[in-house]
Amino acid sequence: MTNMLEIRWHGRGGQGAKTAALLLAEAAAAAGKHVQAFPEYGPERMGAPVVSYNRISDTPITLHSAVLSPGYVAVLDPTFIGSIDFTAGMPENGALLVNTDTPALQLRERLGLQNDSIKVYTIDATGISEANIGRPIPNTSMLGAMVAVAQVMELDDLLQDTERRLEKKFHDRPRLIQGNLAAITQAYKEVECR
């Protein structure tokens, strides 16, 4: 119970918040963790704000209720800043990970965070994805950053599992696979904290 990670992902319909949660769950499960990934279902429209969740634990998870106080929150879309309270329900010492090219300290000020105990991490996931994959789809970069921030698993395990998974899906597109792995690695290493 005590070692359970709870993560909330904020994104826009079509942006991959649901996929990011599913990918993280699959990778963590492959690394021997007990996992949950579930989206919050509302009206599904491209561009509308969507939320999805993870629970990750070393012991079986029996909870089947909403995640109300996630220790980790990931924001896939910087345009949310100012319109959504990402920190809702976050406990003391929670960690917020935002996809933005704004430096963490500056973002912290922009968000006007009341709670000093919440750590703010930033990563330019869109930029990293564009550079490595050639497309502005930030979810694998965010996955890499989140695994680093929440210390879900070793980078090597994440890369191995993601490679295995992508190989089955994109066996005819090795560059896409390598690009995603490079994006994960870069995001894992570059994520910045304030």
């Binding site: 119970m1 949660a21 599913l22 769950a25 699959e26 963590a28 499960a29 492959a30 007990h34 996992v35 949950q36 990934a37 579930f38 989206p39 279902y41 998870i61 029996t62 909870l63 089947h64 209720s65 909403a66 109300l68 998974r165 089955k168 899906k169």
Partner: protein
């Protein structure tokens, strides 16, 4: 499709994916289905298996749930192992055929993804759909999580097709909460499932042209009663068969199953009775209460038809008070369906605990540890004479 990749022993699957995998391994001769949220993914995945040649099932895309079950009934009577799947209003639309499948004693296995009945229209979880169908003559098995959904579906085939039973079985999981939530699921090798379920053996197959038969004839005052009596007998016998199959499945997987699951009931003074995914959340609450030194336990009803009244009586007669949680209202003015049946089960026991009803989670309303904890603590206030208070309480509704 991605699912085929995941056929390692343990996988992270959604409840719908787990159900589709169980169906793939059961490999029925015929699947006739119509999509409805949140069940759609099951039959969509299954149709992909058919299209990709992974299974050799005759897939019948029908135009409604009434037709889906009708076609499944026809196929089962013809001598084919047949399945369908549905949710909510789809199940309601099958109503007429539900009773026919059971009355004709056709061992159809049907995943049902629990979703609130309209109206007002809603796509999220409650048990109003299957609770309404509990007297249709089907065996009903409720699953707590994706693993149980998978396990229960495989066991359901053996239960349904047992020569002493020959009844249809619906296996349920909570809509979205389980159907769309990804969890760790352990899958059996295909071969193991094939061996466990064996071959379909319908003794009066219509397509046996050397032995012409009539299925579904008119019976009036002369025979109808005898057939219903035989059907009632099969339901009683099902209890033993379900236990036997659950035990055998345990030898195969280390996960054995009974009619109910008792959780920390050994020395419990207070108990919650729950079914479906909420049982998992309630276990978490029981653990917390136990840490605080409170003697709470949980009884999860896995099999709702046949109703495990004797087992419930045995387990619950030892406690002071019981909170029965219903994710459906019966609109009898006397609480939910499970409350009525649990209370009836307690009527015959020598020490009768206080019993109170919590109706919760209608239309997918979240039921978290805090709410369950508040209900659990509320039970303690029950004492002699409190039967005059309202015994039906609505948990998590805005006043």
């Amino acid at each position: 499709m991605a699912l085929q990749e995941k056929l390692t022993k343990t996988a992270a699957l959604t409840g719908n994916e787990a159900a589709a995998q169980a169906m793939r391994q059961i490999h029925p001769d015929v699947v006739a289905a119509y999509p409805i949220t949140p069940q759609t993914e099951i039959v969509q995945l299954y149709s992909t298996f058919v299209n990709d040649g992974i299974v050799h099932t005759e897939y019948v895309a029908v135009e409604s749930e009434h037709s889906a079950l009708s076609a499944t009934i026809g196929a089962a009577a013809a001598g084919a192992r047949s399945m369908t799947a549905t949710s909510s209003n789809g199940l309601a639309y099958m109503w007429e055929m539900l009773y026919i499948a059971a009355g004709l004693r056709l061992p159809i296995v049907m995943p049902v993804v629990n979703r609130a009945l309209s109206g007002p229209i809603n796509i999220h979880c409650d048990h109003s759909d299957t609770m309404g169908a509990r007297d249709a003559g089907w065996i009903q098995i409720y699953s707590e999580n994706a693993q149980e959904m998978y396990d229960n579906l495989i066991q359901a085939v053996r239960i349904a097709e047992n020569p002493d039973i020959m009844l249809p079985v619906m296996v349920t999981m909570d809509g979205f909460i389980i159907s769309h939530g990804m969890e760790n699921v352990e899958l059996l090798p295909d071969r193991a499932v094939e061996e466990f379920i064996g071959e379909y053996r319908y003794p009066y197959a219509l397509l046996d042209i050397e032995n012409p038969r009539t299925i579904g004839p008119l019976t009036l005052q002369d025979f109808y009663f005898e057939h219903k009596r035989a059907q009632a007998d099969a339901v009683v016998k099902a209890k033993t068969v379900i236990l036997k199959v659950g035990e055998e499945y345990g030898q195969l997987t280390d996960r054995s199953y009974e009619l109910i699951e008792s959780y920390r009931m050994e020395d419990a003074e207070y108990a919650l009775v729950v079914l479906g995914s909420t049982a998992g959340t309630a276990k978490y609450v029981i653990d917390e209460l136990r840490q605080d030194g409170e003697k709470y336990g949980l009884v999860k009803i896995r099999v709702c038809r046949p109703f495990p009244a004797v087992r419930l009586g045995e387990v619950l007669s030892r406690v002071t008070a019981v909170g029965v949680m219903d994710r459906a209202d019966s609109f009898s003015g006397e609480g939910g369906p499970i409350f009525a049946e649990v209370r009836a089960a307690l009527y015959g026991v020598s020490h009768r605990p206080h019993c109170i009803n919590y109706i919760y989670g209608l239309g997918g309303r979240d039921i978290g540890p805090d709410l369950i904890r508040s209900a659990a603590l509320d039970i303690k206030s029950l004492k002699d004479g409190s039967e005059s208070d309202s015994l039906v309480r609505y948990l998590g509704v805005r006043e």
